[in-house]
Point group: D3
Amino acid sequence: MKTVEKFFEDFEMGETRSTSARTITETDIVMHAMHSGDWMPHHVDAEFCKTQPFKKPILHGNATFSIATGLCLQGEPLNPHGMTYGYNKVRYPNPVFAGDTIKVEVTVVSKQDDPKRPAHGIIIEGKTTTNQKGECVCYAEHVLYVEKRNV
Amino acid sequence: MKTVEKFFEDFEMGETRSTSARTITETDIVMHAMHSGDWMPHHVDAEFCKTQPFKKPILHGNATFSIATGLCLQGEPLNPHGMTYGYNKVRYPNPVFAGDTIKVEVTVVSKQDDPKRPAHGIIIEGKTTTNQKGECVCYAEHVLYVEKRNV
Amino acid sequence: MKTVEKFFEDFEMGETRSTSARTITETDIVMHAMHSGDWMPHHVDAEFCKTQPFKKPILHGNATFSIATGLCLQGEPLNPHGMTYGYNKVRYPNPVFAGDTIKVEVTVVSKQDDPKRPAHGIIIEGKTTTNQKGECVCYAEHVLYVEKRNV
Amino acid sequence: MKTVEKFFEDFEMGETRSTSARTITETDIVMHAMHSGDWMPHHVDAEFCKTQPFKKPILHGNATFSIATGLCLQGEPLNPHGMTYGYNKVRYPNPVFAGDTIKVEVTVVSKQDDPKRPAHGIIIEGKTTTNQKGECVCYAEHVLYVEKRNV
Amino acid sequence: MKTVEKFFEDFEMGETRSTSARTITETDIVMHAMHSGDWMPHHVDAEFCKTQPFKKPILHGNATFSIATGLCLQGEPLNPHGMTYGYNKVRYPNPVFAGDTIKVEVTVVSKQDDPKRPAHGIIIEGKTTTNQKGECVCYAEHVLYVEKRNV
Amino acid sequence: MKTVEKFFEDFEMGETRSTSARTITETDIVMHAMHSGDWMPHHVDAEFCKTQPFKKPILHGNATFSIATGLCLQGEPLNPHGMTYGYNKVRYPNPVFAGDTIKVEVTVVSKQDDPKRPAHGIIIEGKTTTNQKGECVCYAEHVLYVEKRNV
């Protein structure tokens, strides 16, 4: 495993990176329904979907979110000084259909101290997932605790 | 598909329901790594895990989140008046290991108007996922837009 | 897990319920071939299928049967007084193709005593799985042993 | 695809063959739950199972049935003169646990004419699936229509 | 498990057999990417593929190789006297797309002694996988050690 | 997708890199059996395995090979000047069991001209997959055609 020593001080507001892309398939929709147990008709009932605005099955929001997370991590070195605390504001502004190709742009949108944990700082990465037309299909704020080099 | 006609006015602060339970297996960890492409060593490298505080592989937070969502939906009727807007504050306070059994409690924690969309209200459901010891392993706030019966 | 206390006496001849629907995909055909190990060419060899009356791959009968069972159980409460004994007369009168949407209607078709087990009765549920055109693609008789409230 | 020309007349009462064996794993239980959508607690809730006679999760009967069918077909030549009509009397007399190894014995148990289809006969194969202790875990009667060589 | 007693002396140069066929699906491409972790854009990024000579995603070579191996083994008896040593010269001269149907022809292309192991001989099987147009999509030389009947 | 412009001249004999690690699970063995259709008893019949030298199921060699390839590609940039031609000498000197953790070391072991294609050179990468004890479980020679910068 490649590692990187990246402390709180090393993150810069606005620094950005983008991931490789992945085409979503019917298999991904079925696979997520199976694994999560979420069989809502918007995802797996094509006859129901014909009666809805989108006309065909859409990927589960949580699947977009999970796949976006995977794209962000592929090939990334492990930073032993950071730890995922959770996410803020997960939004799904547009649907993802089988055949769409998605990728993610990750930007540092916030750096702040945590009064309760002086040895750490809080980094928030904004993760914007877009489809092949450039439409945002998922926006999530990833909250990380990162050790400070100098406390 | 069973449906229910539940308008904004029909949600009550503090109303609660709980789901059935599901035991997480090694298969679930591997399956989520495969589907998401998140192969971080905390989930799939048992030798690395021996060097970490938890000693063994842990389920990906997003997998807990997706499975919790699936548990919440199993057997739930479709409400044509509600629409998922996203999530707030997704947190993973404790790890999930293979062999743990999780279930979810869903509580209405907020009802509010949206000045920009007078025909709808915003419902926030707090979803608390716990393991067999009663420890919280995931907390998420699910944000729903729900039509009002009387505008 | 939701439970229901339903004794033999509580079942009524002719009572019926229907399930939500699910669209069968190519993924389902491949997945069942993989899991069962049934790679007969009717399911997985498109060139062979072109020479057959149906012209394209069909879902395995047992997969229809398994998925139909899953549809029947989604959201159903657990009845501690009943136990599956098996099935009678499983039939596949029409094929299922990728793209078809199936659902199930369950009807109590028989209530009878079992001379050997006076504390129980035998309930037979007829499970009729239909596609989006209303054609029956699977008919199965589900045999349940159910405790009697008053023996 | 290997084929065999086997007509109704070529089946003999009592002829028998047995299959190779397959060990059932936790993966198989989870996979069947996922594919079928049958998440009943007997299969996927280890805490619930501790309160039941069997103490641990059991494989879904339909999964045993599907895997048994796959075992019966592995390496079998295609007989263009036969066609599955369905099954009679599917029974699950004993549970299957992760770690059990199952195999199938197939015996011709009935040969009969069908007054309505003089060009075909009905063959019934009894399929007995046993575990490593020799206990029967599934018994199914497979109903085949087979063309007659001489009508 | 059916077995066969086939010694080194029983293999004949040029002896050949062919397998049943299997249609490759989009599911197979996604499944192999997931299981292997190989998410190169040639397999899973449809937008990238539009810029390449083949225009659409292709199956991973290793997946063709694995599926070809599976086809070769289906229904084959176990020979306790042989053991896979490895492969020589695995080549992928043409791409495999979703929708292609592949099968394998296996031919004994070499029989030789191994000076270091006089009780065994080395058999090399040439495995030629072709698509529905007869184009070779994978060629592999399978190296087997086989016991001699008479040493 | 990150890319790198690496020509034939840029490869150096003996250059080496190593991958992150992955623990093989029972799920991986079952998954490969399912996807490839290779159900040989060494992989999926635990009772048979008890009679063999290794005593328990082993991962399919081709699965080790595929997973090793995936490990080699994770996080690697795409080199538009290189193309996989195939593999030489794939060997499986030691078995892989569920629970083993494998990683790969990739070394350039050969650089040669191809008289028939003067614009390209042939690079051979030796890929050595080892388990947590340092034993080699797969060795493969990966053959690449790489464009020359200066022809």
